[in-house]
């Protein structure tokens, strides 16, 4: 039941964020509302279908997001394993969904991949630095015992 609730709320959050971004970009380019790029919309006859498919894809992104966050709650896995599995699942999932959404041309894929990897390296470094700092502090307190 909890899982169904999480999936539902992820779906709704995904739609809300996707909606906000598509309105923002439509406004930015000063055009009447479109859910995604012209290449994407050209696949459909009529704007309604394009919006419908976009909304479903945004929802699925939200679901992927909530399911992925559960990986960090698996206590028996080390931080390394959690991070690597999280990376693989979210990279594969988001790449497929983003390509379906037509968010970027295929020749951008290498840049996207590099940014994706850098985000995880940054996260890993921050967490490790934080833990190292904590352990140093604890060890100092232990020595003064």
């Amino acid at each position: 039941m909890k899982l169904i609730k999480r999936i539902f709320s992820g779906f709704c959050t995904g739609i809300a964020i996707g909606m906000a971004f598509s309105i923002f970009f439509s406004k930015l380019y000063g055009i009447s509302y479109v859910p995604s790029t012209p290449q994407f919309i050209n696949h459909f006859d009529g704007l309604t279908n394009a919006v419908l498919v976009s909304v479903v894809l945004w929802g699925l992104m939200g679901v992927l997001w909530t399911l992925c966050s559960g990986i960090f709650r698996i206590k028996s896995w080390s931080l390394l394993k959690q991070t690597v599995i999280h990376f693989i699942v979210s990279y594969v999932g988001y790449t497929i969904l983003a390509i379906f959404c037509g968010w970027f041309p295929m020749n951008w894929l290498p840049y996207y991949t590099v940014i994706f990897i850098l985000a995880y390296v940054f996260f890993w470094t921050m967490v490790i630095m934080h833990e190292r700092y904590n352990i140093k502090k604890i060890n100092r307190a232990l020595n003064n015992h």
Partner: protein, 116 residues
């Protein structure tokens, strides 16, 4: 005075084979869960079964005992140091060279108990 006496001596009973023994806080190294039993390790190297759950022990034990994961409580007078393992897990090394693993969720708990 009686309260001090109670703090120093203990009400926690250890069970081993036919033996039942009151466990003194000062000699207790750690408590850990083994399958569904909570075990107590007592200096120098005795293992007793206790009839409390980890969360119950948390309320019974004095401040030198700190919970380090959902299944383990350690007496910090017997802790040598902590170290970060390559895969991001935190290892706790005891004076007797045994080790235990600290959950990241419990690090703040340790800091609070050590007053840092």
């Amino acid at each position: 005075m009686i309260a001090d006496e109670l703090q120093q001596n203990t009400l926690i009973m250890g069970f081993r084979n036919e033996e039942v023994k009151p466990l003194k806080f000062g000699t207790l190294i750690r408590f850990y869960t083994n399958k569904s039993y909570v075990m107590a390790e007592v200096k120098p190297k005795f293992i007793y079964r206790v009839k409390y759950r980890i969360y119950q022990l948390n309320h019974l034990l004095p401040t030198e005992f700190v919970q380090i994961s959902s299944s383990e409580i350690v007496n910090f007078n017997y802790v040598d140091h902590l170290e970060l393992v390559r895969n991001g897990t935190i290892k706790l090394v005891l004076n007797n060279h045994e080790s235990a693993y600290v959950s990241r969720r419990f690090v703040s708990n340790i800091k609070k108990r050590l007053r840092i």
